[in-house]
């Protein structure tokens, strides 16, 4: 069972639909106890870093997610869900992220912000998440802030948008992707099914 964390922000339906298309049972987790039924957790996200973390705290998901991550259980953070795995975002400097990965999230300084559309990944390290996915594959991105990972060993792919930035990370069973695999056509579905296989 895959739990999709619902902390009251963002459209979770497309994530759910993509997993259902891959014949997976999903549960929209509205309270932390729902994670008990799951063996995999997805943290989706759109919107602002500060209010998202705040909502995670209000709903009790902050601690539940932290515990899940601490136990190194299968996890996928999507877009803002990836950024929240980091220590902080310049979007709201007073708010601490989950801090599983070292680094922060600055805002794009050039180009149209948010970056919206299909961009490519540059694979920097082998990962089972990228099995059968070619270097320079396109995924759908939608974000104004990006991740600046201090520990480059956790980076598995980068993307170029005026600068070169981290677009995929991995630490054992914990994965984060800046793009929306659920909206990235066949390549996105392939990546999601890779994640299901690993975990």
């Amino acid at each position: 069972m895959i739990a999709i964390i619902d902390y009251g922000a963002g459209n979770l339906r497309s994530v759910k639909k993509a997993f259902n298309h891959l014949k997976q049972d999903t549960i929209i987790a509205g309270k932390p106890e729902d994670l008990d039924k799951a063996d995999k957790v997805v943290l989706p996200g759109v919107g602002a870093f500060g209010s998202a973390i705040e909502k995670l705290r209000e709903t009790g998901f902050y601690e539940a997610t932290y515990d899940w991550l601490y136990e190194n259980k299968p996890f996928l953070g999507i877009c803002l869900g990836m950024q929240m795995l980091f220590e902080e975002s310049l979007e709201s400097e007073d708010t601490r992220g989950l801090g599983i990965f070292k680094g922060k999230c600055p805002r794009f300084k050039e180009g149209k912000v948010p970056q919206m559309g299909w961009n490519q990944i540059n694979i920097t390290r082998e990962s089972p998440l990228l099995e059968g996915i070619k270097d320079k594959s396109f995924f759908y991105f939608l974000h104004g802030y990006y991740v600046e990972a201090t520990d480059t060993g956790t980076v598995i792919a980068t993307t170029d948008y005026f600068i070169n930035y981290t677009s995929m990370i991995q630490k054992e069973n914990i994965f984060g992707v800046q793009f929306h695999p659920e909206k990235s056509g066949e390549t996105g579905l392939k990546m999601l099914s890779n994640w299901l296989e690993i975990c």
């Binding site: 459209n11 339906r13 149209k112 948010p114 909206k183």
Partner: protein, 251 residues
């Protein structure tokens, strides 16, 4: 590199695509779900559905269409036409749309942009501008291009961005259906005045005009209807042409 998006637009009335129904390879001609699947397979980067029926029933049917499409097609979906409240937006987004486009209702009630952005995020809110030229200015029109709001289209685009719109869908009333090409001047002016993406729409007759919209008009994406619906070009033809002209496309 960020690719220029090619976005087929399906004008839907009572559950049928009404513009350009000469699809030869499809059994169910003019069915929006089948057309959406076909364009997805051809390599469309996003899909836009506009309800032109503007009746309650037509909108309800489009919601059902979105439900079906979003279970089978995993690319961004935008829906527009007759959305007047955040509740209408919520219905559309819950049915499987990723973005909602508003035009007349945004002009009548600009705070709808802000309210929508606050609840669903700016990335969800597409400000659709139907613009028509008068002398050296362009004005934003409402009600499917029938009424002049008297609002300067460029100023309206900037205001829309400030109010929280995440993208602008710019439709030239003068060029719509002419096949003369996009209104490059207007597209460039708006694209340079805002920092959010601009989708050029209205007037595409051949792939060279798309190149102009991107290179001269600085469009981030192009909306296509009849050029694709009548089977003159496939998305692949168009992308190959753009790539030859050194425009980044997604394969």
């Amino acid at each position: 590199m960020l690719a220029t998006r090619i976005i087929p637009c399906l004008d839907v009335d009572l559950g049928r695509v009404v513009k350009g129904i000469k699809f030869k390879d499809l059994d169910n001609v003019g069915d929006p779900v089948e057309m959406a699947k076909s364009y997805n397979e051809q390599g469309a980067d996003e899909l836009t559905f506009l309800d032109i029926g503007a009746s309650y029933k037509s909108r309800e049917i489009l919601i059902e269409v979105l439900e079906k499409v979003s279970e089978q097609v995993f690319i961004p979906l935008t829906v527009g036409g007759g959305l007047r409240s955040t509740e209408d937006m919520r219905k559309a987004l819950n049915s499987g749309a990723d973005k909602v486009a508003i035009c007349t209702s945004a002009i009548e009630n600009p705070s709808l942009i802000t309210e929508g952005a606050k609840i669903f995020g700016s990335q969800c809110i597409v400000l659709s501008i139907d613009a028509k030229r008068q002398g050296n200015s362009w004005y934003a029109y409402t009600h499917g291009g029938r009424n002049n709001s008297g609002i300067d289209a460029i100023k309206w685009a900037k205001k829309g961005e400030n109010l929280g719109a995440g993208e602008i869908l710019l439709n030239s009333i003068d060029k719509d259906g002419t096949k003369e090409g996009y209104d490059i001047e207007l597209t460039a002016k708006i694209s340079e005045s805002v920092s959010i993406p601009v989708i050029a729409s209205g007037g595409a007759g051949n792939p060279d005009q798309l190149v102009d919209a991107v290179k001269e008009g600085k469009a981030d994406a192009v909306l296509l209807a009849s050029l694709l619906h009548y089977g003159e070009y496939t998305i692949k033809d168009i992308k190959e042409h753009l790539e030859k002209k050194e425009i980044c496309v997604r394969w």
